[in-house]
Subunit: 327 residues, 2 copies
């Protein structure tokens, strides 16, 4: 088993080389925006999870780097195109690609990034390629479906909680699950282990998204690393908001819908007022309860995995972060 | 060898089934725009070429349909995203996807289409998958590069003829070449035959694009199937225009640049005046000469192919269309 920290450093080294090579490829107008979006960083969670999953089954994880690159490229491609669709101007503290290079460049460089993600799979063992391409392309399509639901929910008056959970499964969890499963599969793990790691990824991924929703309301801007209250300002129908709509008093519900209907408001005012309504409704507790539920499911799945218990430590810690950051 | 007509009908039957199934997949907001863009038609040249190339080497071309679907999906994906980037409102006589469904849908459904193209490759023989994915992803990336050059040329004052030819090689010819090569490869053709068919595709593809440029100036709207003079109105730096800029008299060149600088003009006036300048310069003849050159190269390549001469008839006719439509 290799630690996340060790894997992060080693992936980052490899990936930096890839970025350098992308940056110097012609035509520069196509490839520079790709390098720009990749250089800005990100936590590289998905490739690290893939490499770690592989390390549970083999000491030799050299074969996993191309697929890890596939996942990181694809994840960043989705962010790039999502930012166009969401009219998001800032990504990781710097101008989004469509702001910096224009919308056409963002569309086309994103397209190229998605293709490059598939291209990296050609560096995998040809005998494993069919399975890898099936899993990855299915996952990639599911992520598009998740984004479609997300965009569509914004226009709707009502979204049910099961609909929301399915959306975040597609938009967020499946790529985490796919990363773990691909890592294990490349390392030669048996089908059952691959499936369990996939399920663990889904459960932990949903817990993480619920945490993200919670942090948008209650997080500390410095440690969260992004602006607080963004979801509130955009009336994002997150679990915490849907639950507030369900649980709050009639008066608070009217007040919340009133805030949601305003087009002209002081963000600080709206964030504070909506946060108070959320708190009074008990939706914050409800969200923590659901996070805990998915966290426990994830640990239960991990328990079934047929490897030494001590080998499960990193994944247990990974899932555990969900609880530690939410007070 | 199977005739284009026969293959077109049989591909169309299979493809219709795929479109039906895409159309009824949830979420409908993601998949309906895809079905819409595919149903509008198109000549299905690339899948037909692929199936035909396969039929030169095997009587059993059933294995080739998934890859033919890959190519047709990917081609239509590029049109869909190109229409957003070019602000083109009409495609094949009906509103473009971004006009009909909105820009966000067009971006996301296009992304899904590109992914589905890769997904269809998983239905190919796993033993051949690595080679197919390498060729296809390289080609897909080259098409993005071609589109990038095309967009960039619009902003430039000067484009050289070699730069233009490289752009159309990437944007148009490589997908035709890739289709032929994939068909032959799946059918078990030897490396040399695959390479020759690829080269034939590049040469014929360039000839076809030059023909398209010529038809935009001199074509008959009814038989060409699209509006004449579109390139002229948009100042597209096609070979025929670049050659006109090179060969026309000083007076005509000034007049042409004057037309190109106008933002407010009657399209009919501009098309007629520019056409006259093109005709006087001799660029039309120059374009036909270059088309003929690539046509002859294509036939020369076809000659080297180690199959019965009678089997080459359809591809010879295909390349020959370049000359027959240009009078």
């Amino acid at each position: 088993m290799l630690s996340f920290q060790h894997l992060l450093e080693s992936f980052e080294r490899e990936f930096c080389r890839e970025i350098q090579s992308i940056q110097s490829t012609a035509p520069v107008q196509l490839y520079e925006p790709i390098a720009y979006s990749l250089k800005v960083g990100g936590k590289r969670i998905r490739p690290v999870l893939m490499l770690h999953a592989a390390s549970l089954f083999t000491p030799n994880i050299g074969d996993v780097y191309p697929a890890a690159t596939t996942i990181e490229l694809f994840h960043n491609f989705t962010l790039l195109h999502d930012d166009i669709m969401d009219h998001a101007g800032i990504r990781r503290g710097v101008p989004a690609v469509h702001v910096r290079y224009g919308e056409n460049s963002a569309i086309l460089s994103g397209d190229a990034m998605s293709i490059m993600a598939f291209q990296f799979l050609t560096k995998c063992d040809p005998e494993k390629l069919s399975t890898l391409l099936s899993l990855f392309s299915k996952t990639a399509l599911e992520i598009c479906e998740g984004q479609q639901h997300d965009m569509e929910f914004e226009k709707r008056d009502q979204v049910t909680i099961p609909e929301y959970l399915e959306m975040i499964r597609l938009k967020t969890a499946v790529l985490i699950a796919c990363s773990l499963k691909m890592g294990a599969f490349i390392a030669g793990a048996d089908d059952q282990s691959c499936s369990l790691l996939y399920d663990f990824g889904i459960q932990a991924g949903i817990a993480f998204q619920l945490q993200d929703d919670w942090l948008d309301v209650y997080g500390d801007e410095n440690s969260f690393g992004k602006k607080i209250g963004g979801d509130i300002c955009e009336n994002k129908k997150t679990f915490i908001l849907l639950s507030t709509l369900e649980k709050s008093s009639d008066q608070d519900r009217i007040s919340l819908k009133n805030w949601m209907g305003k087009t002209d408001f002081d963000p600080k005012d709206k964030i504070e007022s909506v946060r108070d309504i959320i708190t009074r409704s008990g939706a914050a507790e409800e969200t923590k309860k659901l996070m805990k539920h998915y966290h426990d499911l994830a640990l239960g799945t991990l328990n079934k995995l047929q490897i030494e218990d001590s080998e499960k430590e990193e994944l247990r810690n990974f899932a555990g972060q969900v609880l530690s950051r939410v007070k």
